[in-house]
């Protein structure tokens, strides 16, 4: 038996986006896959990854006072760490660039750790994540996070095997009210208009509003903005769903309307079609819905994707395309000629590297460069047919560092 450990200490969406890596490991002969994650996400992980052995720890804010949390860490985390230290892991995939992940890696011999390791008190970043940090300089070209994490394994499963192809399930429309970052979400009146348009076009029999406690009021506002006939079939379930219920609801929908959220990734995991609105710091080529059968409406102002933590000096103009009255017409017709300025409408697709998106309205100006970068990365990972574009020289200059080939790589990306 071979044990593999994945350490994923980030949030809801990241947990779901780890799927290609987890499935790849599970597909290896005699593999047992372990996942260390924040305890708050363990109930969800049990639903999403029933065959993975979970090792929940306290890693996020708990709402408790810091003394209580400290005690939990020294008792409960310690117990879990002892369990992890006692298992002979073939490889530990430590996925998050965070001080917490580096410290957790201290339990393991650095040569067994991929990603972020700890070597005699020194934090060590592996070559692959270090490269990823460099290509964040040209985010419009970036690759999907699911593929990035999957690519820790040279034998990563083919992209179509990750999620089922999305098909309507018969349960009406779901609407995610907001993501964690408010600027990425559509304002309630606009979201209501778009919801009404899509519900009308698809003759939706029910609308389910989804979110947490913070979105309860937004749900009420959206409901109020809907036409009367839709209000009567709309249920505001914000704050009313635990993980189990959320999975059940999402799994039955015909369509989920959503910004870039964990719920969107859950829908993709379940094979529920997504209509996603990407703007501000959200960029679908990085974190779009994974699998076939999804639609993304991506804002394409030249300032995108921006940094969520930086204030917007552009008066959130990336919202204009969505607010354009013509956008609702376009949602109904899907005709490229009806698409407003500042938007790109895309359908999810695959290439040899993994997830990508093909435009059916608007021009994806970055597509040629993105294609070269993707080929470059594929070649780097060892899976590309020999092919060379002169632009790859530019990427090589930007993404490779001398130490990548002059010195032994630690942690290493082993060729298995």
């Amino acid at each position: 038996m071979k044990n593999y450990l994945v350490i994923q200490l980030a949030r809801f969406g990241d947990l779901i986006q780890t799927k290609r890596l987890l499935k790849t490991l599970a597909a290896r002969p005699e593999a047992t896959v372990h996942l260390c994650l924040d305890a708050s996400l363990a109930p969800l992980a049990r639903l999403v990854y029933p065959d993975v052995i979970l090792h929940p720890i306290t890693a996020h804010g708990t709402g408790q006072d810091s003394n209580e949390t400290a005690l939990r860490m020294l008792l409960d985390n310690r117990r879990t760490f002892a369990t992890l230290a006692a298992i002979d892991f073939e490889t530990v995939f430590n996925l998050n660039f965070s001080g917490l992940n580096f410290r957790l890696a201290a339990l393991f011999a650095p040569e067994r750790v991929e990603g972020y390791a700890w070597n005699n008190g020194q934090e060590i970043t592996g070559q692959w994540p270090a490269m990823a940090m460099r290509w964040s300089g040209f985010r419009r070209l970036g690759i999907n996070l699911v593929d990035f994490w999957g690519a820790y394994c040279p034998d990563m499963l083919p992209a179509p095997m990750v999620n089922p192809k999305a098909t309507p399930k018969g349960g009406g429309m779901g609407v995610v009210l907001a993501g964690r970052e408010s600027r990425r979400s559509l304002p309630a009146p606009l979201l209501a208009q778009i919801t009404a348009t899509l519900a009308g076009a698809r003759n939706a029999q029910s609308i389910t509003l989804l979110g947490g406690q913070a979105e309860r009021a937004a749900g009420q506002a959206v409901t109020k903005e809907l036409p009367a006939n839709l209000q009567s079939v709309t249920e505001n379930m914000a704050e009313r769903t635990d993980w189990q219920r959320l999975v059940e609801v999402i799994d039955g929908l015909d369509l989920l309307i959503t910004p870039d959220t964990g719920t969107m990734h859950l829908a993709a995991h379940l094979g529920t079609p997504v209509a996603a609105f990407f703007l501000s710091s959200a960029w679908c080529f990085e974190t779009g819905p994974y699998g076939l059968g999804h639609t993304v409406y991506q804002g394409v102002t030249d300032c995108l994707p921006c940094l969520e933590t930086a204030p917007c000096r552009e008066n959130v103009r990336c919202l204009n395309g969505f607010a354009d009255p013509g956008f609702r017409r376009f949602l109904v017709t899907g005709k490229a000629g009806h698409a407003p300025e500042g938007l790109l409408a895309l359908r999810s697709a695959f290439d040899d590297l993994g997830q990508t998106y093909e435009p059916f309205a608007g021009t994806d100006e970055d597509a040629p460069k993105r294609g070269v970068l993707r080929n470059f990365l594929l070649h780097h990972l060892g899976g590309a047919e020999p092919r060379f574009d002169r632009l790859e020289q530019f990427f090589a200059g930007q993404l490779y560092r001398e130490k990548d080939w002059m010195t032994a790589e630690k942690p290493s990306r082993k060729q298995e």
Partner: protein
């Protein structure tokens, strides 16, 4: 004194290297958190530059560039470790730019210049760049230092590290290998070469480096003149009936030079409880009473005293016992570090500014957890009232895989920083 964080910067090589290690060990013994910058690890790369066969200006540029990288490495370490004091040993690879940067950033620095200022004159450029400059000589040296702007000067003689320099039970094999009636351990300086020519007819073993080309001494030279480790030195001291200790000199006209400072070997031999015959020094009287060290003032007197003490093991033992007692009382590196830190505190008002430290234990920690943390503190040589941040650093200093408690502590520290930042 409260627990301080001290970064000990070792030299790339040389005589002050073992002293730097004793200093770090003594600081830990005193309850401080000492982190060591292992400069010797960088030295092979530096020396590799010498094999390039390039123009001298290019070689010079490369050497300076390399030393600049080493200085930058020390600065990076300072940034992470946040020491209360950077303590450099003589020849430490901190260049002037780095020292200026530390001063600008308010990081206190000290150098222990364990060199002869007449032979090693680079203090003239470096001394003013340190906040405190400790030396092993007195007299006009202090005036010279004041003249170039270094007022915080401290006479800090060398010492011994009693948990290392100590009486040993040696095996028969070790006694045969390291023992003799008379021995000398040290480098082949001109005055020593000439002096020891007189002793080759004795049961005399010569240890150490730089004795090449002396056919008279060659038969008694041990290990073909290879470098002797500090551990082997202690065995030699312990296995020898009469240890010779002749202070070095680069000239051979005067074999006994009556110089000022007392060399480390004097303290180390004494701490080992080993008998030594040592040449008189002007600063020796401050460190030892006359009945604590058997001394000589000339080679004739040395030969005479070798004969005398060869026949009188009880006298040797009495000197050795008294010298050891004196070293343990007054001349340990722990005491030197206490003196240095007190001096630094006195001369630098406001030093050291304590960080916003927190305690290790919450009030509600179960007894079992408290016991485990106490055991960890003991293992790491930390006092029980150590601040949490210092415990974290001590855990981080460990090598290899860490256990679950170590990892939990590091993890908790990081979590606190993360959520403090966010709140």
């Amino acid at each position: 004194m409260e627990t301080l964080r001290i970064l000990v910067v070792l030299p790339l090589y040389g005589g002050s290297l073992p002293i730097g290690r004793y200093v770090a060990s003594a600081l830990r013994q005193e309850g401080h958190l000492a982190e060591v910058f292992e400069a010797p690890d960088f030295y092979p790369s530096y020396t590799a530059l010498n094999d390039l066969k390039v123009t001298t200006d290019r070689l010079d540029y490369l050497q300076n560039s390399f030393l600049n990288v080493v200085s930058q490495a020390i600065l990076a370490k300072v940034e992470t470790f946040e020491p209360d004091l950077v303590l450099s040993m003589a020849q430490a690879p901190l260049n002037p730019q780095a020292l200026k940067r530390l001063r600008r950033d308010g990081v206190a620095t000290a150098m222990w210049f364990v060199e002869d200022h007449d032979l090693f004159t680079y203090w003239k450029s470096f001394a003013p760049l340190y906040d405190v400059f400790a030396v092993i000589q007195k007299g006009q040296f202090f005036e010279y230092l004041a003249a170039i702007g270094q007022e915080n000067t401290l006479y800090l003689p060398l010492a011994a590290q009693p948990d290392f320099h100590r009486p040993l039970e040696l095996s028969q094999v070790e006694r045969r290998k390291f023992g003799s009636e008379v021995s000398f351990m040290g480098a082949g300086y001109p005055n020593r070469r000439k002096a020891f020519h007189e002793l080759v007819n004795l049961d005399f073993k010569l240890w150490g480096t730089e004795w090449e080309g002396d056919h008279v001494l060659e038969p008694i030279l041990q290990l073909k003149g290879a470098r002797v480790t500090p551990e082997e030195c202690v065995k030699i001291f312990n296995a020898t009936a009469i240890n010779l200790n002749l202070h070095s000199s680069i000239q051979a006209d005067e074999l006994v030079t009556f110089g000022d400072f007392v060399n480390p070997r004097t303290f180390e031999l004494a701490a080992c409880g080993a008998f030594q015959l040592v040449d008189k020094r002007t600063l020796m009287g401050e460190a030892f009473d006359e009945d604590e060290l058997a001394t000589f003032s000339s080679i004739e007197e040395l030969i005479e005293k070798i004969k005398h003490f060869s026949l009188r093991p009880e006298e040797r033992q009495a000197f050795a016992d008294r010298a050891r007692a004196r070293v343990l009382k007054d001349h340990t590196y722990a005491q030197r570090m206490r003196t240095l830190l007190e001096f630094t505190a006195e001369r630098m008002p406001g030093w050291s500014k304590r960080r916003d430290d927190s305690t290790v234990f919450g009030q509600d920690y179960p007894a079992e957890l408290q016991a485990d943390i106490h055991a960890l503190q003991a293992r790491l040589g930390l006092p029980e009232n150590v601040a949490f941040e210092d415990l974290v650093w001590a855990v981080r200093q460990q090598r290899g895989r860490l256990d679950e408690l170590d990892t939990s502590i590091l993890f908790l520290d990081e979590w606190r920083k993360l959520y403090k930042k966010q709140s």
